[in-house]
């Protein structure tokens, strides 16, 4: 066991090329999915917080429910959409990092939208009357609320990062876990563990945990600074 751990640390210490390729691809795929998901999920959540229309409550319940969407279900849906006979088959994205980005986006958008809706709705309750007197449009209200809640919305972003980086099922189905092409940390850990190559699996696990902890620590510091700076 100690030999396995030492080998894992050696892989990390020497910046093993295979390990670094997997880490780099994971970060590229997940960060792209989170940024793209935030561009859609944050305004969607903020709009849900301020909008008034028949069926709004039902939509809120659906978005909240989608937070727990099983990643394998998303994987199957994206697989069907991108497969040769699917509606987007002509794009040729299946078994590519692009397909993995799409799958992870589908997982993080409802999560970010639901968390944003909750945060922004609390602020909207305090601000709605003044915005209406000032003549703010719905779009101006949404933009102002997102900016005002920006530090609290870091939580939504972090949740999205955690969801994207830690999921296995969807990227396994739409990416195919192809060596040097679509193999990311989570799928590599699953594969290497089943093969018995524990040092690589452990090294990747350490990196995965390190990234998540570092992001959380960074967000914690930003929030502390923001509380001191803006109250």
């Amino acid at each position: 066991m100690s030999e396995t751990l030492l080998e894992a640390l050696r892989l990390l210490g020497t910046f093993d090329a295979k390990l670094m390729d997997i880490v780099w691809l994971s970060l590229r795929v997940s960060m792209t999915a989170v940024v793209a998901g935030a561009v859609i999920g944050l305004p969607l959540g903020a709009w849900l917080a301020v909008a008034e229309f028949p069926g709004r409550n039902a939509l809120v319940v659906i978005v909240n429910g989608l937070m727990g969407l099983p990643s394998v279900v998303v994987g199957v849906v994206v697989y069907l959409a991108l497969s040769r006979s699917g509606p987007f088959g002509s794009l040729g994205l299946l078994f590519s990092p692009g397909a993995m980005v799409i799958a992870q986006m589908m997982l993080v958008i409802p999560l970010m939208a639901a968390l944003t809706r909750q945060t922004v709705e609390d602020a909207w309750r305090d601000y709605a009357l003044e915005f209406r007197v000032m003549g703010f449009s719905r779009a101006q209200s949404v933009a102002t609320l997102i900016h005002d809640c920006r530090h609290s919305l870091l939580v939504a972003l972090l949740a999205g990062v955690g969801r994207a980086m830690s999921e296995v099922g969807a990227v396994m189905i739409v990416g195919g876990n192809i060596d040097n092409v679509t193999r990311v940390m989570t799928t590599a850990i699953a594969l290497e563990t089943s093969k018995g190559d524990l040092p690589l699996a452990i090294a990747l696990g350490i990196v995965l945990m390190g990234v998540v902890l570092a992001l959380n620590a960074g967000a914690f510091q930003v929030r502390r600074w923001a509380m001191r700076r803006f109250g």
């Binding site: 007197v133 000032m134 109250g231």
Partner: protein
């Protein structure tokens, strides 16, 4: 012109509870009108109706020759909204919907901060201001849009005397700039200092609408006499 503002037979009965009941009121376009009355009599509801924040479901609200307000209205609340941003950003907030350039918004906001004595704090975080400074900031934000009608809902509640004095000076400045001010307060001393006319509400109606001097010297309705007597017993004895 959006004046005079006329409320005719306006009623507001949330959940069957009578708040406003066949209220009639005409407001001219000049001076400071102060709405007085006991708690829960509908002072804030009246301001919200005029601001368009509360629908008039019974009775009519008429604006001069038009069916709707044609000039700018601003409103400042007892607990003003303060964004997590700088004082300058907060002062410029009301200008965003007006389609002005960023530079023009900033220049106007700085001018208003100067007028309310907060220009030296323009770059500071607005949420870290004191209660009095926050209210001055809210007034600067309202003033920046050059409103023709300014609605103030108990703007000095919970403020210390020096902060109250600062707010009153700003309100006079806004009136001098040409805005009609309609304000609610529980502070009768403030009403005597600021008001040109008093609207006294009780039992869901306007019991009295009179010039301030006349109202405090010779209140006509028993409800107004009791209200003032409870608040300013020395004045009643003096007048008697």
């Amino acid at each position: 012109m959006m004046f005079p503002i006329r409320l005719e037979q306006v009623a507001f009965r949330p959940d069957g509870r009578r708040v406003l009941d066949n209220l009639d009121l005409t407001l001219s376009g000049e001076g400071i009108s102060i709405v007085l009355g006991p708690n829960g009599v509908g002072k804030t509801v009246l301001l919200k109706m005029i601001a368009g924040l509360q629908a008039v479901t019974e009775g009519r609200l008429l604006w001069g020759d038009n069916g709707h307000p044609v000039e700018r209205i601003a409103m400042v609340f007892q607990q003003p909204m303060i964004l997590r941003s700088t004082v300058l950003d907060n002062a410029a907030l009301g200008l965003r919907p007006l389609g002005l350039s960023r530079r023009a918004c900033e220049a106007r906001a700085r001018e208003m901060l100067e007028r309310v004595g907060l220009n030296h704090r323009a770059g500071h975080s607005a949420r870290l201001l004191s209660g009095g400074e926050k209210q001055r900031l809210a007034l600067a934000r309202a003033w920046a849009v050059q409103p023709r009608l300014l609605l103030l809902d108990e703007p000095t509640a919970n403020l210390d005397p020096s902060a109250v004095e600062a707010v009153e000076t700003i309100v006079r400045g806004i009136r001098t700039d040409g805005a009609k001010v309609l304000m609610t307060t529980h502070n009768l001393g403030q009403a005597t200092r600021l008001a040109d006319d008093i609207v006294f509400l009780a039992d869901g109606r306007v019991q009295e609408h009179a010039p301030a001097r006349q109202f405090f010297a010779r209140p006509e309705s028993p409800a107004a006499r009791h209200f003032i007597q409870a608040e300013l017993p020395w004045r009643i004895r003096f007048d008697e």
